[in-house]
Symmetry: C2
Subunit: 214 residues, 2 copies
Amino acid sequence: MTRVRIDLFSSLDGYTSAGGSPENPMGEDWGLLTTAYVATRTVKERVFGDTSGTGTTGVDDAYAAASFEGIGAEIMGAAMFGLHSFPDDPGWKGWWGDEPPFGFPVYVLTSTAPRPEVEMRGGTSFRFRDASLDCVLAEASEAAGALDVRVGGGIGTARSFLRAGLVDDLHVAVAPVLLDRGHRVWEDLRGLERTHRMTSEVAESGTIHVTFSR
Amino acid sequence: MTRVRIDLFSSLDGYTSAGGSPENPMGEDWGLLTTAYVATRTVKERVFGDTSGTGTTGVDDAYAAASFEGIGAEIMGAAMFGLHSFPDDPGWKGWWGDEPPFGFPVYVLTSTAPRPEVEMRGGTSFRFRDASLDCVLAEASEAAGALDVRVGGGIGTARSFLRAGLVDDLHVAVAPVLLDRGHRVWEDLRGLERTHRMTSEVAESGTIHVTFSR
């Protein structure tokens, strides 16, 4: 049964990094939020191609590994794909090079930049959609088959799916830092603990892993 | 050595209950934030006079018990004392009845309602001060002797002391709820984790106890 999943990063005060420049698309506080994540063995291997076997193998790594497992399709917003950073480049193919680390269909939500599907190496295809969240999710679920659909971000897209009640599993890695700036991760989600069961677990790094599941 | 301590309640999204009416001074979300706290054996005994020995005795209770230990003086804002709710009552003596549960001097910050010291039963005295945070803290520390000074709140007063770098120990009980409204607990405290060591611990209730100490 396909589930809809989201993984987010937050500061203790509920912020995620505000989008930065084309040179630094994740924003300048992104490093503070992801210190423990990028230190895990899973991320070193799967994201950075570091197969030396170094990296942490504790609680942070368990959540990182889980976030990669069982995904059959992804949905992301136009900004996350980069359409807002490079609006005049009809050939823009995302931030991830010729062989993006997805390996499945990625549905990009855009009402302003429709374009044909782009097939990348390694099984990733970028499919641009101007449709309701429900419709895109139905298509992504179909594509995912027995696997799950991940709403990849950014934070606005993630919150839209959460507010619409379309998300089964939310994981937020709360970093032990106070940012006092950025986008609010939890905005307009009052009462989510009443529709989803919440758990919390503190990792060796001080990161608090919060999950909401139904 | 006197330390300056603060205990606060927050929702997962970083809000504390906005002040309510004179009939409900803590605001309507206060119950959601303090469910686990009022369920502890310590609070049942010390706040509600329930000596039946019921109540939780786990992690929440340990933090609750610690919050009562070793306090020799308190500082609170005018609103927490009730001066804003009852501005025209020069005989107002706080919310806590004839024998308030302090047992030590309580310094009330007020620039608009100076009044003589009020001696209550049980060792509590209310002392009204229109002075800088430093000056009031120096006086409270003197009064506390070898014990600690607690900044009792409200949230604005607590943040003022935190921002001024006057707080040694902050404990925040983060309740497993999303409020999406109220006063922001963490506002304007970017980088507190660099001046204070942060810890987190999840209680049986799902409350996340976060501490900052130096």
